[in-house]
Symmetry: C2
Subunit: 377 residues, 2 copies
């Protein structure tokens, strides 16, 4: 565990020096454009993903919308420093996680992490190729979304299995999946820490007046109506964080980042902020409850855009709880989640096989070479 | 507080023989028509409640719709034995609760319960008058809805305070409120017991194949968009019951009983059942998660109506978990919830003052003579 960094190929950690990794952990997330020039390719990928966006004539309309949105989105990324910090944070999370895992779970060590982003690099194909080159056989697909949605974790997993086919690595690994962790005690404790830090941004005398506004990325109602488990799991996360927090502040859950003409799950975070201001609320702490790293939705939407709205409507003290990012308690949590998963021996959560009642996608809820079936055979 | 006993009307429990009650517990619920002749008055009250239904020209359109729906709803109640069992169950719950409370909380004994239904008798006015006649001074408004919604608990509380004004009893009692209990351990344990009983209705060999379908009453999206906390709290209840249950069955949360032209929160229970059947699910256990007694939505909608749907779509084994009704563990839970509340000394939950962001009703979240303010003065 000493000379790790120098060996690791760009963007990957080595958990235990030169020894071949025994367990590869694929960290799944949507990703974000690292530079302004990556914005358009990112949007092209996003608008091509039929698992989250269905457009008529998608092969033409998707690129059209992506290109039309590029200047605006480039501007947003320019405003937060010229790119998304998600790769940097995910790598920090991965490094912290595998270092801890090697201690927590020596039987499955050495561990190595591989980042697989859905709409930008490193892609699932790259992660799989690197993992194969490293000699990994036992692989864990670890979603970085705490609460499951077909639009996020579901799409990433389906892409991972497709990428395994495209790269000829369909049989290269024994897989298991960490498909959700909305109330894992480590996650809840880490998230509670961010809320405490958020509250401490207010003057002590004001702290009791703070309304805690949990904000999660919204979903179109047609996804909700299909039976997506996301709102149920977000509700459970919020409840657990509030209990763990143990402060008397009132709280509220709202949903952000809806776009386009269809109706999305509410209440809308922006509208809630407007209404809170209108009725005289002066102190608001926004808590991103469904995403683990800072990204455009925290740095630009919550901080800048809604911060401006809050200012306009008279919320004199508008703050945001920090994202989990690389806080040590969260790195602990990530390692604990993987350890608990490995110890369970289960190929996935009991909830994973539960396709949405309205699912029409035959790719959903598959898993390549699940580890426990091989162990049984 | 001595010579009240002779005033106590029939239909109410005595918790401790003839001694005057020290603590009155008002059990708030929507109620239901006890006989077929009560159906129309019930619907008239329901469609007059602007806190849950806003109609243009409500004073005319409300009664019109209520009268038009009466024959159909009478038919539904005829099909479940000629009336709602909610009063019978609420009285059984109240009796069990106060008997336990007298043991659990001797300092606040004797306890007596008073039923206050929103749309049928006994009304809030009756409950208040009886409580006054009994010599009660310390009163607890105890919602019988585990998860808070402005449409249910909110409406009942507002009506209780209005009734206190109408009856001249505005200053008769020191109040505190039990406004929600979505994850109270006693409730969760009792609810988990109903799911276990539900699973035991299946053959042992089939039990692992059962999909657990939690079903809660839906709300119109405009209520959700206002910031009602109901879906978050229902999600939390589901998560806690599933954890407490500890079985590997997949589960899903859906919402039932939407009516009228506006869009409601989904997924719709009925549609979920249709889709589960269409994809070959044969074993479904429906669990009413947001209501404590059997009522038209369990006995008629879940059992008969959706049972018929399930049969049509090939769900060969469709069962429903029993309602909490008068199961002893639930009577324990009710007493524990009140005991915990009384011990806390709090006038209401920390969440109660949190009006919906979009609330426009000045009556909301008030409380008459909160007990702690008197204690302080």
């Amino acid at each position: 565990m000493t000379n790790v960094e120098s060996f690791s190929p760009a963007g990957l950690s080595r958990s235990s020096a030169d020894s071949a990794p025994k367990t590869g952990i694929v960290m799944l997330n949507l990703g974000g454009p690292a530079t302004l020039d990556d914005v358009q390719p990112f949007l092209l990928e996003l608008f091509a993903d039929r698992e989250i966006i269905q457009l008529p004539f998608q092969r033409w309309l998707g690129p059209f919308i992506a290109r039309r949105r590029t200047p605006k989105v480039r501007g947003l990324y320019a405003g937060i420093g010229g790119g998304s910090p998600i790769l940097r944070y995910t790598e920090a999370q991965g490094r912290g996680m595998v270092a801890r895992l090697d201690r927590l779970s020596p039987a499955t060590a050495p561990h190595r992490f591989y980042v697989a982003f859905r709409y930008t690099r490193p892609s699932s194909e790259e992660a799989l190729r690197r993992m194969h080159a490293d000699g990994v056989e036992r692989a864990v697909a670890f979603t970085q979304y705490p609460q499951f949605s077909c639009s996020t974790t579901g799409s990433s997993l389906n892409e991972l299995w497709r990428a395994a086919g495209r790269t000829g690595l369909r049989d290269a690994f024994d897989w298991s999946i960490i498909d959700r962790w909305p109330v894992h005690p480590g996650f809840i404790e880490a998230m509670t820490g961010t809320v405490r830090d958020g509250l401490e941004q207010f003057e002590l005398a004001d702290r009791q007046k703070v309304l805690i506004l949990f904000s999660a990325h919204s979903l179109p109602l047609h996804v909700i109506d299909r039976g997506d488990s996301y709102p149920q799991e977000v509700g459970a996360s919020v409840q657990r964080v509030v209990e763990s927090l143990g402060v008397p502040n009132p709280y509220l859950l709202a949903y952000q980042s809806d776009v386009g003409p269809v109706r999305w799950l509410g209440p809308r975070t922006e509208q809630v902020i407007r209404r809170l201001g209108a009725r005289g609320q002066k102190h608001v702490l926004v808590v991103p409850i469904a995403f683990t790293s800072d990204h455009i939705e925290t740095l630009s939407e919550l901080d800048r855009e809604y911060g401006e709205v809050a200012h306009q409507v008279g919320i004199t003290h508008y703050k945001r709880a920090p994202a989990l990012n690389d806080r040590p308690r969260f790195l602990d949590a990530l390692a604990e989640i993987v350890r608990d998963h490995l110890q369970s021996g289960a190929p996935y959560s009991t909830q994973y096989p539960m396709r949405c009642a309205g699912c029409t996608n035959p790719q959903c809820r598959n898993v390549l070479n699940p580890v426990s079936s091989r162990m049984r055979s």
